[in-house]
Symmetry: C2
Subunit: 319 residues, 2 copies
């Protein structure tokens, strides 16, 4: 079926392993989707080639609709000019003017480039859990802890595009050392690496946990996805670990709410999918820790778009 | 000397003890200033009368210049409609529509009402240390720890006017209980009450500190102003205490900078006047704790307007 005169945009989700491009209609439906390897360890020219290939493939699959623009969500800091800076796990990247390069390659199309967590926040704002919420903090809780702030239905980027770094809010000034060099960042308590290590420690005294079953008895294989799965299967230790982590995440969310006068947080990423009990743990912690006038209005909601948030948010940048 | 056709605004600084009104010229000079008792314990009608009296007195002293508007900085949360909510130490206040009431009393003048910390931030932005700085975090470090965020030379109020509450950013999720009910707020470590108590504890083993001299040997009389004075006189313990407090304040400032993508903080309030060593302690702590891309640009600067910040910031609301 030809869509005739209808208009679409291309949403590109750039990750360290794969780059995915989708053909997205104005209402947020994904009409077509592909997936190419990123080759992030082969340097920026190769990566840009792969991005170009995924876009060209998507443009060939618009089913007759006219593509109006290309939006890209990329890891790392993205400045106002669409320069992508130091995305983790990308070799020899430094600073790459991705927007300028794509504008050259696709001169007839509007190009938007944004940090991936910000893009996912845009996705939830335009098409997901935040569609009727003008102001909220989006948190992506997976390998690390990232975030994006939506103000008046738009992404708040800050003066240089780096806003929303909730993962590096201190929750204990004398606490654990984080990968970023700081001490006591919330990511050092609830990010993948730390959560897995802490779980392995804890399972020494709980050898019957389903978590161990899921990793074939090898505690070095523990990842949050297995903790999450075990929790869904009813494993008590797994639930305890995620409740505690949710409470700690809530401390950082409350700090952001106090500073920015926000009341609603939408939580995405792999760990958030473990179940409503995680949302409840975060909510309880946030309510305890925000200033009194905010308490009655606090809402912690699960994200709705899952793995599609990347493509949809990127598309949302130019829709 | 008559100023003839020149224009001025009235800036009003409402405090729990006194209400001060000033006649402020466009460039930020205060041409006249008064001071009336607030009578905060006699309820809102009395307080509003006192505000009216201070404004009328100022209007009589414009030296012939035409008054264009009245700006008021008030404690408590101030919403978008100029309703002042629950200012601490004001009896029976609840919520008072201060802007509406003053618009009725002074129908020919533009009225602006803002939270006092936000007003002080505006003052530093328009007339003080922040005049050339588009984006910064203003911190007022005195009895409590308050703040205001300047974005693009304007106050960032958040969705309901409550933004900038840096005093209640958690720095230790298992830490001290704060007045606000939360645990581990930075105000519970560096605010007047806690700082004074901690200092009294510490002086038990340092009986020769100049701080004790300044309070006549009575540790219950310790206030930050004396710690600050003793530090200026070279007292080692006083300096140590303020350096430690500055480092803790820096933890919360760094969290705000990470979240909002800011690099500059301007510090006002009584304790900040202790000397440059306090600014250096805060700066060092912030640099250690912000994300790497921000570090080289961090600046912690002293406020420039001192006690005049209230009147000037209020005036700045309508200038």
């Amino acid at each position: 079926m030809k869509s005739g005169g209808s208009k679409v945009v291309i949403g590109v989700d750039l990750g360290g392993t794969s780059v995915k491009a989708g053909v997205v209609a104005a209402g947020g439906s994904i009409l077509y989707q592909n997936k190419f390897p990123t080759f992030a360890d082969e340097g920026p020219s190769k990566v840009i080639k792969q991005i170009g290939a995924s876009i060209r493939d998507a443009l060939k699959n618009t089913n007759g609709a006219q593509a109006e623009g290309i939006g890209i969500g990329a890891p790392g800091v993205v400045d106002d000019d669409g320069v992508v800076k130091a995305p983790p796990n990308f070799e020899d990247w430094g600073e790459v003017p991705l927007k300028a390069k794509l504008s050259k390659a696709f001169p007839d199309l509007v190009i938007g480039v944004e940090n991936d967590a910000n893009a996912a926040a845009v996705a939830e704002s335009k098409f997901g859990a935040g569609i009727h919420i003008p102001n909220f903090l989006f948190v992506i809780w997976g390998t690390g802890v990232g975030g994006g702030i939506i103000m008046n239905h738009k992404i708040y980027r800050g003066p240089t595009g780096g806003a929303g770094e909730i993962g590096h809010v201190t929750i204990d000034y004398r606490g654990r050392r984080c990968n970023c060099g700081n001490i006591g960042c919330v990511e050092a308590y609830v990010g993948q690496r730390y959560l897995s290590r802490r779980t392995a420690e804890r399972l020494k005294s709980h050898p019957k946990s389903k978590i161990l079953e899921l990793v074939g008895g090898d505690p070095t294989k523990i990842e949050p996805v297995y903790i999450s799965q075990a929790a869904q299967m009813g494993d008590k230790i797994a639930r305890e670990i995620l409740v505690e982590a949710g409470e700690l995440l809530g401390v950082a969310i409350a700090a952001v709410m106090n500073i920015m006068d926000l009341r609603i947080s939408i939580i995405g990423g792999g760990i958030s999918a473990a179940g409503d009990f995680v949302m409840r743990a975060i909510q309880k912690s946030v309510v305890h820790r925000v200033l009194k006038p905010l308490r009655k209005d606090i809402q912690v909601l699960p994200a709705q778009l899952g793995n599609n948030a990347g493509i949809l948010g990127a598309a949302g940048l130019v829709l």
